[in-house]
């Protein structure tokens, strides 16, 4: 599934964006199947805005976002639900977990949308890998930010996807945990031949990026 961005300009950043200063805003670019893309962006340049636009959390923009032939702005609620269940997965910067559900339930509620894709055991496997098995039955409200971040990553990886969008996914993790998470994410993308868009403040080498873009 290719992702096309055509002259994309969010209304909120209209005044800030000057022609040619960004690789993405107000440009025409195509992101290919299976590409690992790093989007580097200093604070205030619209990382989270871009994440939200790509996932259709917000629609206040000019230009167009297309997944293959699907124009995101014209996508109705059912099609959007299908897109989010089967084609695009995300880790929000603010994680967006249900605080009153346990870590396991937070992952499970996502897994049950596409139960044929992954089994319950996979949750345990992944939490083992990321070192959060012990907090699986703890309410998310009582988990540390680092634990919550890893739960959010697992939740994103439990579903089928063609694109995985990560908005500063490792901000609360130490180096060791970042490497574990990156390995898990990388293998999940490879398994699906899916593309990865990861937003970050600085350069990094957590993945073998095909492209590094400046926002």
């Amino acid at each position: 599934m290719k992702l096309y961005l055509e002259k994309l300009v969010p209304y909120s950043l209209k005044d800030k964006i000057t022609l040619g200063s960004s690789d993405i805003w107000n440009q025409s670019i195509a992101l290919n199947d299976g590409e690992l893309i790093k989007i580097e962006a200093p604070s205030g340049t619209g990382k989270t805005t871009l994440t939200h636009l790509l996932y259709k959390v917000r629609t206040d923009y000019s230009g167009s976002i297309k997944y293959d032939n699907l124009e995101l702005s014209k996508c109705d609620k059912d099609a959007l639900a299908d897109l989010r269940q089967n084609y695009i997965s995300i880790v929000f910067q603010d994680l967006r977990l249900f605080p009153d559900l346990s870590a396991r339930e937070n992952i499970e509620i996502k897994r049950l949308l596409t139960p044929q894709f992954s089994t319950k055991e996979i949750i345990v496997e992944m939490t083992d890998q990321l070192g959060v098995s012990s907090i699986l039955d703890r309410k998310v409200r009582f988990c540390s930010l680092g634990e919550q971040q890893r739960i959010a990553i697992i939740r994103a990886l439990i579903q089928p996807f063609n694109w995985l969008i990560l908005d500063e996914p490792f901000s609360h993790l130490d180096q060791e945990n970042i490497i574990r998470a990156a390995t898990l994410i990388d293998s999940a993308c490879k398994k699906r031949n899916a593309g990865l868009i990861i937003m970050g403040l600085n350069k990094d080498n957590y993945f073998n990026y095909n492209r590094e873009l400046i926002l």
Binding site: D78, D82, R84, E105, Q159
Partner: protein, 398 residues
Amino acid sequence: MLNQLLKKLIRNSAGQAKFALAVIGLSIAILLILSAVQLQSNYYELLNGKKNQDSIANFLVVNKSLTDQNVGASSLSLSQLNDLKKQPFTESIGTLTASRFKASIQSNSALFPFYTDIAFESVPAEFIDVNTKDWHWDEHSSSLPIIVPNQFLDFYNFQYSFSQNLPQLTPQVVKMVSFKVTLQGSGQTFSLNGRVVGFSNRISSMLVPQNFMDWANTKFSATNSFQQPSRVIIKTKDPGNPALTNYLKKEGLITDLDKTRFSRYRQVVDFVVNISSITGFLMFTFALLIFSLFIQLTISSCKEEIELLILIGNSPKSIGRFLMKRFFPPNVLIVLIGLLVITIAQYFLADYLIGKQIILTPIISWLTIFGAVLLLIVLAIVNYYTIQKYLRLQQLTK
């Protein structure tokens, strides 16, 4: 499993007290509406049912008011009959056929001798208030069934028997007495046995089956031609209806004025039914409002959860379905309980009324069941639209 998690997320945040209030309101409303429907259908059953000996439907025997001008010409014309049939208050109309031959009855027993000349009338069976299996006659029948006005028996028992020093007779005894009926006319005489099979409060004539009357009139009548009836019986829902009274007056017709008192029953039933349905519908409306409010409160208090559910890939439709599954089953339960209560009440009502010689079906009417289904449909629609509306609103204000 997903539903269990959703249940955990979308709690009754609007509070159990409000929910209980809505449930109580809806239960009372549904009970009132369904009992109004059942009462109305019971009333119609009594009005139109053929099972009841003396139903509260009103039958009026109508004839021309005899004056100096119309003496000897008291028959009702075809156009008058058709006009009467067309009137909105007329449910059905039956003609009373008078015998056009001489007849007498005579005792078969020397112990209880009597002889009298007599005349018969006949009327279609559905207008007769006596329900007996003996009410049939054909040319091979051994005896002729006769229905006698109750007033005749009263007259005999409380006046005649005293004056003649004769024993009083119970209806059962009268029914056992067989007597000889002799018909005369067109130079022929014919005798057969007769027997009283019942007593009528409705028609003050000696009644014989219609087919007997037709046969005898053809055979013994001096004038063989068809004659217009002088009296008809009409079935009407409300003899107190002013339109009926005015019509009869205008056409120079008279009827049993005392019958109008039966219209009181109707007024009472109508009053009860109306009050019950109006209160029921008012309460139903309020209960619907409370339920809608409840749904609205639940959705808005779970705004963030619903938003997040949609964000992680649930479709608003599936959340709507979940909410429907959450809110609608209590409604179904309430309606079912309402139906059950009405069913039990109907059973006991029928049981009680049977002691009063009023036969009512102990099973609730299909109209009541239909009413319950209709209420459920209304509830489902209101639930569905409230859920859709607030889910949509919530997404718009996101």
